[in-house]
């Protein structure tokens, strides 16, 4: 009996490898579509819709069909279960999505075993792509953003900084990379603050930062309501008036929350791979198409991560059909022009290499807030895997 199903598994794996011609290849998208993180799923879906409008439903000789599955929130059990079902029941040959690191890590053994190329649209911990040779990432990693921010601070005469990060894995990573880079170039860290995840009242931290009186503040807070209230309390508590600059990663002011921050946000500087205000024909086109499909939606990093993720998926499908190994080979070193600028997939760690922009919040011609790009670090790789 046992032999029997081992054989069955092998047969399935083979069926995956051989593939038939003129077929439909299914791509499973695992992301939160319900609950507090549903915004990610929504942005991904819109990004994919815009992509399909641009490139059609055919990749090479194959038809492509997206199958969506809800992973709720940071919930590795559900993530693994729905992925397993996608692979076994729906017979998907490619996967995409994955917002949270644990959700991506939980499927690593599955995709390695089934040799399913998986494009991560968000999960930003460096280590993920090491856990399976079938992971490719089109978002960014935390060190990729916070390293350049430190370089920019030094280059612009900022000598003392207080770091304030959310006290969990990604926050600690951002803090460490920033401090390492900043101190290596002669900057001084006056104070390190780690704020509990569930903090909503930031006034005490602001008082502490104010009395530290640094040139600038470096912040990492995951995108969402807490980032919003942090930014608000930065100006409410007079830090802006005291001349303490606000530096951070783009998570604090992504395009879906930016307008709500109000004028208090003007002058905030963040490092990120994508701004909706990026000046390029491709970006204009993407924004116009999104507006045509979903007039109320705003393009942000998640939209573009999914769009570029789909680009990589299509390239892999066109090149390799259902052969997972060949698909990953096709993705390695892939170079193209994205709405965020020139990007490529690093052949060694399969994470994206991209420009990191330093952006300043400013008012545009329409009187809306935007992340205006003021400096570009060209072709930044995933700095986290260099160490």
């Amino acid at each position: 009996m046992k032999k029997h199903f081992l054989g069955l598994c092998a047969a399935l794996a083979l069926a995956g490898a051989s593939g038939a011609e003129a077929d439909t290849i299914k791509v499973g998208i695992v992301a939160p579509f319900s609950g507090p993180f549903a915004i990610y799923g929504k942005q991904f879906k819109e990004g994919l819709e815009v992509f399909v409008k641009d490139y059609g439903t055919k990749a090479g000789a194959h038809d492509v069909e997206f199958v969506y599955k809800d992973s709720t929130g940071p919930n590795p059990d559900v993530s693994k279960q729905v992925t397993q079902e996608l692979l076994i029941k729906d017979g998907v040959k490619y996967l995409g999505g994955y917002v949270f690191t644990p959700n991506a890590l939980a499927v690593a053994p599955l995709i390695t075993q089934s040799q399913t190329p998986t494009v991560i649209f968000n999960a930003a911990t460096s280590v993920i792509t090491k856990k399976s040779p079938f992971f490719v990432r089109t978002s960014f990693t935390l060190p990729q953003n916070s390293g350049p921010m430190a370089d920019w601070a030094i280059a612009n005469g900022i000598k003392t900084v207080v770091t304030a990060v959310t006290d969990y894995g990604p926050g600690v990573d951002a803090e460490k990379t920033f401090i390492k880079e900043f101190e290596a170039k002669g900057g001084k860290i006056v104070d390190k603050i780690r704020m509990p995840i569930k903090t909503t009242d930031f006034a005490p931290f602001m008082q502490r930062i104010k009395s530290d009186a640094p040139n600038a503040l470096f912040v990492f807070i995951p995108a969402g309501p807490t980032a919003f209230s942090f930014t608000k309390s930065y100006s409410d508590n007079g830090l802006k008036a005291a001349g303490i600059q606000f530096l951070g990663t783009g998570d604090v002011d992504d395009e879906t929350t930016l307008q709500a921050l109000g004028d208090a946000a003007i002058g905030i500087k963040t490092a990120y791979p994508y701004s909706a205000a990026h000046k390029s024909a491709l970006n204009d086109k993407l924004i116009a198409e999104l507006a045509a499909l979903h007039p109320d939606s705003k393009a942000n990093f998640a939209t573009v991560d999914a769009y570029d993720g789909a680009y990589v998926l299509y390239k892999m499908i066109a090149a390799a059909g259902t052969d997972g190994d060949a698909a990953i080979k096709a993705a390695k070193g892939l170079k193209w022009e994205s709405a965020r600028g020139p990007v490529s997939i690093d052949a060694n760690n399969r994470s994206i290499t991209e420009n990191i922009y330093i952006r300043e919040v400013a008012k545009n011609a329409k009187g809306e807030l935007e992340n205006k790009e003021i400096f570009t670090f060209k072709d930044v790789p995933d700095l986290g895997q260099a160490k």
Partner: protein, 321 residues
């Protein structure tokens, strides 16, 4: 075993056999959904343990995920440090969760009602924060990924989740049998007595506080088993195991099925998770509405849970006659 009357023992055996049959049937009926079925079974074990603590003994808790999480991390850490035999992990998970339940129970069982509710939540939050803070040991928010060895060195976890399913199903049968025996024992009677009236139990000389601590510890061990199984089948432990939502969901499943009856725990879990699964795959974007409607309907029509429906219908028929 001699505590249980002979006919009851036979009935229990028949019930267990029936359950085993249903579990086997499910294995063949849904070969593509074994990952989901395994999650349901693990959740059943968790809700059974909550049923024992809350439904049988009347300890109101919203912090049962503290014990689930303790079990998950114990099993995860075992596997991460080389002891990746799953049964060993389950034992470690049960022991760790029992220990946490005992420690916190010594303190918690002195309180009742709302105070108890708040404190159980607090314990969960503290443990969750510890898992987050000590990221060198626990992997923090990224989670602790583990590689499980074969069960008893023979049965390897397979891609389709067949071994995982059988493994979890056996655990469920064991836990269920254990609880049936326990609840029928004098200890179980004492637990029910405490739920009915702690004052009267004290009056007849029962050491209510120590009984409660023992109940909580036992319930904790069972929740720990569920946690360990969950860690092993996902091959990853993250701080999500200490999520308040987990405790709340378990409570909803229990209430849905009918608290205080073991079948209620099984049935409520099955219905809640199946509806959740079907709704979420039919419409991954708006399924929460369906779950909400289901809960409203059940609470309105059958406040004592789905298992009370037959009685309810019978009573209605008698009235209308």
């Amino acid at each position: 075993m001699s505590l249980i009357p002979r006919d009851r023992r036979l009935r229990d055996l028949a019930i267990l056999l029936g359950m085993a049959l249903v579990l086997t049937a499910a294995f063949y009926a849904f070969p593509d959904n074994l990952a989901f079925a395994t999650r349901v079974i693990i959740m059943m074990i968790f809700v059974l343990s909550l049923d024992f603590v809350l439904g049988v003994a009347g300890v109101s808790t919203l912090g049962h995920s503290a014990l689930f999480g303790a079990g998950a991390y114990a099993a995860g850490l075992c596997a991460a440090h080389g002891w990746n035999e799953p049964l060993l992990g389950v034992v470690a998970g049960a022991a760790a969760a029992a220990f946490v339940a005992l420690l916190s129970g010594l303190f918690l069982m002195r309180t009742r009602g709302l105070t108890l509710l708040m404190l159980t939540i607090a314990v969960t939050e503290v443990l969750g924060e510890l898992a987050n803070k000590f990221s060198d040991i626990t992997g923090g928010a990224d989670g602790l990924d583990i590689v499980m060895g074969p069960i008893l060195g023979v049965f390897k976890f397979d891609f389709r989740g067949q071994v995982g399913y059988v493994y979890a199903a056996c655990m469920l049968l064991l836990v269920f049998a254990f609880l049936r025996i326990l609840i029928a024992s004098p200890f179980g009677l004492a637990a029910r007595g405490i739920k009915e009236s702690p004052a009267r139990m004290r009056a007849i000389g029962a050491p209510v506080y120590w009984r409660l601590v023992a109940i909580y510890t036992l319930g904790g061990a069972l929740a720990g088993i569920a946690g360990a199984l969950s860690a092993q089948s996902t091959s990853l432990v993250s701080p999500a195991v200490f999520d308040f939502q987990l405790s709340a969901n378990a409570l909803i499943m229990l209430i849905l099925g009918g608290a205080g009856r073991l079948y209620g725990a099984l049935f409520g879990t099955l219905v809640f998770m199946s509806v959740h699964e079907v709704a979420a795959s039919v419409d991954p974007f708006n399924w929460l509405f369906i779950i909400g409607a289901l809960l409203l309907a059940v609470v309105y029509v059958a406040p004592a849970g789905l298992l009370s429906l037959p009685d309810l219908v019978k009573r209605q028929l008698r009235f209308s006659r």
